[in-house]
Symmetry: C2
Subunit: 298 residues, 2 copies
């Protein structure tokens, strides 16, 4: 794993549009795959008149096991593509890209960029009473310590744990499955042991990967084994991100969006559009229609 | 998943060097990651004086969940790189690339090319008495039906089963682990149910992914629940491939190799060389030294 230094985010988040920008309602959403559709799903009811452009870099996923240099190269090419398609605001729905490439994306994209790590940490700050926060995520996200840094910037203590089996379990469709329960029991026991060793009293658990909201039920059930520690509140960074995006954009004033009506969505994938459509529907919670294949050079 | 037609291999395998070729002992081995090192490990004692060049396309792995077009594009770029480095014979150690891109690689590479599917099927043919063969592999390999086609070309009946959780379990290091045993029990029960439904009496199980030899012990233990069906023989396609390569090359005559002594190995990875070195050592069974980063355009 690359040892590149990841800068902590600056709070409050700088995500407003430039003064005088005539916002046309085009929002780009980027993920390495279909997981970021959980963020888009959370955005839809909050920005019902926006035009969403979504890129899933499915030919090069997963990012979670790769190096910072490779992740940054991939994420920047996707971000540039979204800006070329007219996006005026970028949502980096991929936790791994948010953790390891947000600075590179901001350098490359001339529009405001919001990542899910910053919003997840801000949400944890708003809800945690003890200031001690658990984070589960991919290998690369955890090794970057992006969540711990974002927590520290807000005065929180973050304890992170890589859970590399959870994404394959979700993709296998084993949601309410005894194997998944057993894996969650093992991961959470290890995470609480880390927290105990550090003398922390966590009251918040951040789902630091876009696949994990699909396991929210099993995760909340697995947390019951730790009920003697008091209630642990689960934070879905997809929801938190959608709230931040809606707050940052001039929505609801009735003048900024070109057309009233329902949100439009265009999807791009770097690998099979058929597979994107079939797998993505589960994450978006509605049928996916307009998907195009795009070659970002991989 | 792309519906591209995959041609069945022609037996006996056409892998000899051209007449008059002055073989210098340079063998290229390709995999999407470190798994193909199990093939290189099996090659070393059989070709102790060869020069091996290994490419792991770690920036774009895994191939097992991607489309035929994407896999072919990736595999061809790696094969061309190996030929540019002087490889006179290519071993496609990646089951997924062997299943979905062997024809594309043969079209692109002006040297003999041997894939692990063909050799795995040939080995099953040599050992199965009933002619009924079980295959476990990745999603993409199974959906291509490359093993079933290769079995059919030899008069065998092949029943295939995708086991997408096994690679992440191996990479998590959960080899002798209760979760892995439970997952294997589920997958094997489903595979035997498929065989029963087709009226087959399998006596052979092909490990159709380079990660699976690391689970050989747990797989053989899980097969004991099915002992009433008679003995099931496990075929490791890495071993089978190494035997085929050694048989195809002019080794041991004492004149073809430029230098006596031990095999040399050079490694290339498309992502972090540090990670390749640390993860690969477990697959190769010895320390990995000379690893270079190579950009194949992803």
């Amino acid at each position: 794993m690359s040892q590149t230094k990841i800068s902590a985010p600056h709070f409050p988040l700088q995500t407003s549009l430039p003064n005088g920008h005539n916002f046309r309602g085009k929002i780009g959403v980027f993920d390495s795959g279909v997981g970021g559709l959980t963020v888009l799903k959370a955005l839809l009811p909050r920005l019902p008149e926006a035009d969403f452009i979504y890129v899933g870099d499915t030919a090069r996923l997963p990012y979670g096991s790769k190096s910072q240099a490779t992740i940054a190269r991939y994420a920047v090419s996707s971000a540039r593509f979204l800006v070329d398609q007219g996006a005026e605001f970028l949502v980096i729905a991929c936790n791994t890209a948010s953790a390891l490439a947000i600075d590179d994306i901001r350098d490359a994209a001339p529009v405001p960029v919001l990542g899910v790590i910053e919003t997840g940490a801000a949400e944890a700050h708003a809800t945690s009473a003890t200031g001690d926060v658990l984070v589960i995520a991919t290998d690369a996200t955890v090794q970057s310590h992006a969540y711990a840094n974002a927590c520290a910037a807000l005065g929180l203590r973050g304890i992170e744990k890589a859970c590399p089996l959870l994404v394959p379990l979700v993709e296998e469709g084993w949601i309410d499955h005894p194997v998944t329960s057993e894996v969650l029991d093992i991961y959470l026991a290890e995470l609480f042991a880390q927290a105990d060793a550090a003398g922390l009293r966590p009251d918040t658990l951040v789902l630091g990967c876009t696949h994990y909201p699909l396991l929210r039920g099993p995760i909340e059930r697995a947390l019951k084994a730790h009920a003697h520690r008091g209630q642990i509140r689960v934070i879905d960074s997809a929801e938190a991100t959608a709230r931040h995006v809606a707050a940052a954009l001039p929505v609801g004033t009735g003048t900024e969006f070109p057309a009233a009506g329902r949100a439009t969505m265009r999807f791009y994938a770097t690998d099979s559009v058929t597979k994107f459509r079939s797998l993505g529907t589960r994450f978006l919670g509605q049928p996916i229609e307009d998907v195009s294949l795009v070659d970002l050079g991989g």
